[in-house]
Subunit: 341 residues, 6 copies
């Protein structure tokens, strides 16, 4: 029987100039819809799971376009409420070589931030589901969405549904103190924590000693210790940390670790020529959730998640459109990119 995941979070319209143009020179935008949690859902769908997005978008055509876009990739949008003023906008420009990618947020006053506690029927939404996932940007959107999330987490806990969170710290959304304060109230309900090389320090103040990710120096061992501390402090079952080595804006090292309280698993390190790195972390989470849901060993789940997110970063857009077979081919060692014909 198909496993199912529920994704709670904001939805955004992503506007990007074509190719490598900068925002300031754009006369056209490519239009995509995204959301840290929805991105995870698309991955899960591609691997054979059911995925239910829970959020809120306006009633007008842009809201509908968002719904349509998610449906296209197989997400179930039954639980996306309609109402409120506007859809969040994410402007992105893709960097290259020494030029960094840029992101402009226009995420306030949105339909999602207008969620008030009780607006969602969590009992119906979670009934019979296997997993609930959210990221740190959801509670960052305001007290309403935060309270509603808390309600959902409690019900999920009661129903025995696994819960994961991607800390996903964004300094343009909230400062570190607000993030920590809020996130700590939610950690009680979390089984699996996911973060990148910056998040654990930024949100929870747990620093990886001897590393300087700004200089591309990320050390697995230090992060293993960080992961262990997270598990201990917040009573997690597992903590995963993705490790990005920023060689340039268009070339990164990519790997991850997974700690289960007893052992820390490490993955292969991929040297990736980036096409679109946005959504990389989400595709890792999607791969990990699938791996854990489908009964893979932890090492295999980690390997699957890292290979999946490696491929994602070579695909335009936020969604990982790789199939399970595509990911397994990379896991099994074929990184040569020979034409499949």
């Amino acid at each position: 029987m198909k496993k199912s995941v529920v994704l709670y979070g904001d939805l955004l319209e992503r506007l990007s100039p074509p190719g490598l143009e900068k925002l300031v020179q754009a006369n056209r935008y490519e239009v995509r819809f995204t959301g840290g949690e929805a991105n995870v859902g698309v991955s899960c769908v591609n691997y054979g799971m059911d995925a239910y997005v829970v959020g809120r978008v306006p009633k007008h055509e842009i809201g509908q376009a968002c719904i349509n876009y998610l449906r296209q990739y197989g997400l179930d949008t039954t639980y996306v409420a309609r109402g409120g003023e506007r859809l969040a906008i994410l402007y992105t420009e893709t960097g290259h070589s020494q030029r960094p990618s840029k992101v402009i947020y226009d995420r306030n006053h949105t339909s999602f931030s207008g969620i008030v506690p009780g607006m969602l029927d969590w009992d119906e939404i979670l009934e019979g589901k296997d997993w609930l996932h959210f990221t740190g940007t959801a509670p960052a959107m305001g007290e309403g969405p935060r309270e509603e999330l808390l309600r959902g987490l409690k019900i999920a806990k009661r129903m025995g549904i696994s819960v994961s969170v991607d800390y996903n710290y964004r300094r343009k959304l909230w400062d570190r103190e607000s993030a920590r304060k809020t996130m700590e109230t939610l950690m009680e309900y979390v089984d699996v924590g996911i973060g990148n090389e910056e998040d654990c320090e930024a949100v929870f103040g747990i620093k990886a000693e001897g590393t300087d990710f700004e200089k591309g120096n990320v050390d697995e061992k230090s992060y293993s210790i960080v992961a262990g501390k997270m598990i201990e402090k917040y009573g997690l079952k597992m903590q995963a940390i993705t490790l990005r080595e920023s060689i340039s804006a268009s070339r990164n090292g990519w790997s991850a670790i997974l700690h289960d309280g007893r052992k820390c698993y490490t993955s292969r390190n991929y040297l990736v020529d980036l096409v679109d790195r946005i959504g990389g972390g989400d595709s890792f989470a999607g791969g990990l959730i699938y791996g854990l849901c489908s009964g893979m060993e932890k090492q295999s789940a980690l390997d699957f998640a890292v290979a999946a997110s490696c491929i994602k970063q070579t695909i335009p857009g936020d969604f990982n459109l790789a199939s399970k077979e595509d990911v397994l081919a990379l896991v099994n060692g074929d990184a040569s990119g020979r034409v499949q014909r």
Copy 2:
């Protein structure tokens, strides 16, 4: 010496699907920047005037892109303040035949609406200028921009600068009562009022008897009476009204009247196959301001304004990119569209 016009109003990013696609099916947007007042300014620049835009946009790259777009068409952006949260967005889809064009506003919480009285240095801005123009959407954006406008109007009056307003009623921005209440406080400073076939009734409650513009029935005589009433009630020097006959979404009749308190001038009626009707009214205002500033007779100014706005509606985008020569060729009767080679 060049005449100059100051334009006070909101600036927007206009996002449109290519061609005749609907918003709900768009995967690309054409990106343009616009504003009812900025549109007027572009017309004036094309006819040889100087035009100064007064408004406010964010400091980030989208704000800069807006500035750049306006500069491209010769607007002086020295007085566009930088700051605030976001730029307004206008989603548009172009209708055709029986399918109406649609507009979605995402205009709240913008940099412009965050203007607070005193933010602008009206004395410097207006020094040596000939004309000040605004539309009804500017005071609709909030109390701050409304108060700042009022300050500017008073200073303009004191300096002897001519003031025009395009009533430009938008029911998605405010209701009729709010509009009337606000607009009536501003009319005291206005010399030339401009409206379309709906505005005088919607904003000021002055109805054209025996007309039903929803059915494309617009009668010059009735509107002449309306114009006369407006002049009398608000002490205007002139009142112009554009008259649109909506045959279909892609074919309109287009004409206008101009009343000066003594006489009502009427224009030729153009049957226009529309390319982009947005900005049609603004290009009329631009033509009229230019005509009046440059010393044309009233009939000539009206004819110029109507021909100008006829051409505008055959050009993609909100700006009228026709030159004075282009407009005069149409005024002088060459509507045959023969190739110029």
Copy 3:
């Protein structure tokens, strides 16, 4: 409770040059997926119904792209089987003025034509549904799909599900004799027949006297008689006929009649400036099915269907993306195309 419709038919990849280019000069194609029955389903979804597409597409990425495209617009693709060799292709170029639109079919050896009887679980598919619709192109695709359709029709009949057919004669798919022979075996199960001004003669040999649609001469009365004969001969509950007056490739008259055995209802005649006429008949069928399912009076259902299909022909692509509100606005007389803002 939501009404539901089941759509049985072939699915195609539609490839079109941008704008008004001819196929022979194209260096890019716009890619859409379509199908006479799927198009009907999209209309029904937009009006609030559930719509289930039944067909077959290859397992590869092009098949998946087709699934995704249908999902995007809300179609339920659960019953689209995966397998077979290839997806049908439809090349189209859009004519204008005196230049006719053209269509090239590449529809043989497809996954759909490879359907063999028993491949579909009709009992599950039809369980609890309200309506089954197909068009004449489905049985034209081969004996397998024809037999499977017959199986479905019998089960639908047994379950008391309403059945409609759009005769949809395509001479590039089969000759008139084959069409008649096949279609007559299916008519026994049909409740509502739908055709255009050519179909009843082409498929069933029932000619509208005194009309010559090639010359744009279509007479409602003659077609009323045709409809009456169809009802009588095949025991239909209703027969609808759309009437297209081809003024030019880009301008058509558009109306329809609906006969219920006792009375023949006629619609308003719209003069349409065409954007994309492909899918016009399907959007009529979609509107009619919705109208009849939702309990409208016959005149209202006909009016809704004609207005809906009028709007469709102003929208790029095969799908009618108009909402119920959009259609009702036109039914209620607002054909002026004024901007909705």
Copy 4:
């Protein structure tokens, strides 16, 4: 056996903004290659003739791109010399409704204008060919190309090859006096003269009495007299005149007459919704040459030429991509534009 036509004239790179944008707002150009004579050749090829372009383009990649473009549509480019400085450029923007189309020439100092007499091997070029065609723009390009043309005309005459000219007056290239002086020296070798409603007056000073084409008033009878005078004065076998009624920039009446010294044939008048009117006259010439070469009666040849050029004006680009069958379908009365499927 295939008939063949030789086309002597300049070749140009045509740069056009997409859709209905003006040049001043373009950030992309569509790139096509053209030439009044090459356009004629493409028509002839489409009807089954061989067509040889004679001209000169630079050796660099833009010259090669021009060659490639012509080859694509079946023109034989063996006799296009390579050398010289630059390829001519033609900027075009497409008008609509009251907005006229515009053309900017950048045609000086080109490879073609650098032709010097003797550069072409006319004996080889003309050997075994049936027809030689040029337009007035070829001798307008300078003394070298003019002299070389004269050489070719003499050899063609000697070989008994039919010669046609499209007067094709362009005031941006030369004034009326220069044109007349030059053209009169060439008329001695011409069998068939072709002009539009302006050319005979502009070049040869033969005015159609009582007409004012600027106002769309073109009278067949007056032009019949003009044609007769042309034949008499210059010893032509035939004179054809196309008659364009400019209703607007996007809607024209289109017809033509053909005088053979004894009788003046007149064509049907098509009301054309224009897509791209550039190349309209060339496609008329192409249709006429084909008709006369292939042994049609004069009325049929005229009808073919007018129908062909009617269709051309509904196709983007300068080339008429209609087939003989397409043209004959329109000649035979099917102007309804029904989809061909």
Copy 5:
């Protein structure tokens, strides 16, 4: 005098999403026409040879578009027969980094596969030509094209025309046994065999010991032995093998060897950042044929072919659009890519 090559093989329409998009997310395709043999022909034309494509495409506009596309790049299409049902389609998506490129074939039931022996007039086609080339995909298309090829090979042999084959094994077209069985019947007529690092083993069972091309491990010496065996077994004059080291989907090592029975020549190894690797092998064959035809030494011919195919892989599309001068510049050592200005 110009040397000439005859190319026998299938022609395909290649549909590709723009840039690095995956097929499943494409809403536009770039349209190109291709064919393993036609690709070779374009190379030869660019170096100054005549190239005649022999194949079969449908009569409709897509077939014509294919013809036009080939003509554009100078191929002679006189011997492309017209008829049959459909043109083959090749969907491609371009991989990057760890994501492999993908190809979907829709190549059955095509006009080419419908060739029946005797359909082509080989005597006329081959008369006076210097070289005949085909690839393994031509006989893979069915018995008809296979038999017709055999007829042509025999006539070529009789006329003393050199014959080359690119083995070009595609497992999606046929299995290894079928390929071997068929290809062995054709080898009798072959002078020059060309393969990549997989072909000799896949088709003829001759494995390069100690290499594992899936891991990017290709050893020149092993392949030299393979080439020697091929020459011996099939009585070839020469055997060339291209060696691709797949570092990633966007970065490859590229080199080749050429064995003449006595000596094995090896080329420089280029590290290529790939733009479009499809057509790489064909451009090698084109370079080699040109080199051998034009009297180069074997080492020079090999160097030319490898440099040519290196450049090809940096050009979008299947055709190598590099000139002889471009190739020689690289052969002579300028791989720095300095701007040519």
Copy 6:
């Protein structure tokens, strides 16, 4: 107070195929306007300076489009004269890996080359400005522009304005002797000389011993000696030389030196994955002028200029759209390209 720079030079329309297509396969061009000096001005504007372009463009719409394009990025176009025949055209194709970029000039007979001495009001133009910059292509355009430049230089000298020149040698514009002869007459007025690794030898015959830039071998020490000689010979205050190591067409090393007569400063060497290298040298000059104008230390000015031009080469188009903050971030060591969010 804002510093200001005056830029004297030709303006061009740059036409480029999209992405990595070659010119010979382009059916669309991206349209940009450029000019070696204007490019410098855009950089200066981005860093907060005022920049005045001095040149000449035609009166028609293409000239206006050029003006608009420059205004968009903040250049002051008051001193761009209008008149003359045509705007220069620059066709570019972007190379990749072993395939070099290509440039085709169509720069003769332009409006700029038609400048005659006295046409410009240098006194007004230079009044109150801080810096005058030109490149070697300006005097290469003909005697008129050369004389007018000389006039300007003398006035600048008189006014005490700093003068810089980028030697910018282009062999397609003039030969080395002409260049040297002309440039030497201008050097008398120059304060700061700027060149690339080729220029000093090409224009002034001062060779860097032991280097071979064609092979990517550029040695800082040799160039330091060259710079010293330049300073001595021409009495410069400073000489800067950019050093490009052409690893491939898409990957370069990039650094520079700055000599002030006493000391030679050297910069960091960036390994750049190129997006668009055209304008790289101009952006160096722009950075250097800004640095020197704004009072940076020489080492800092050099570092700023090199970082700026490194970033430029990752941005499509000729203009460096990086802000001062963007450049400083790179100077300060963040070359990791981490997303800014």
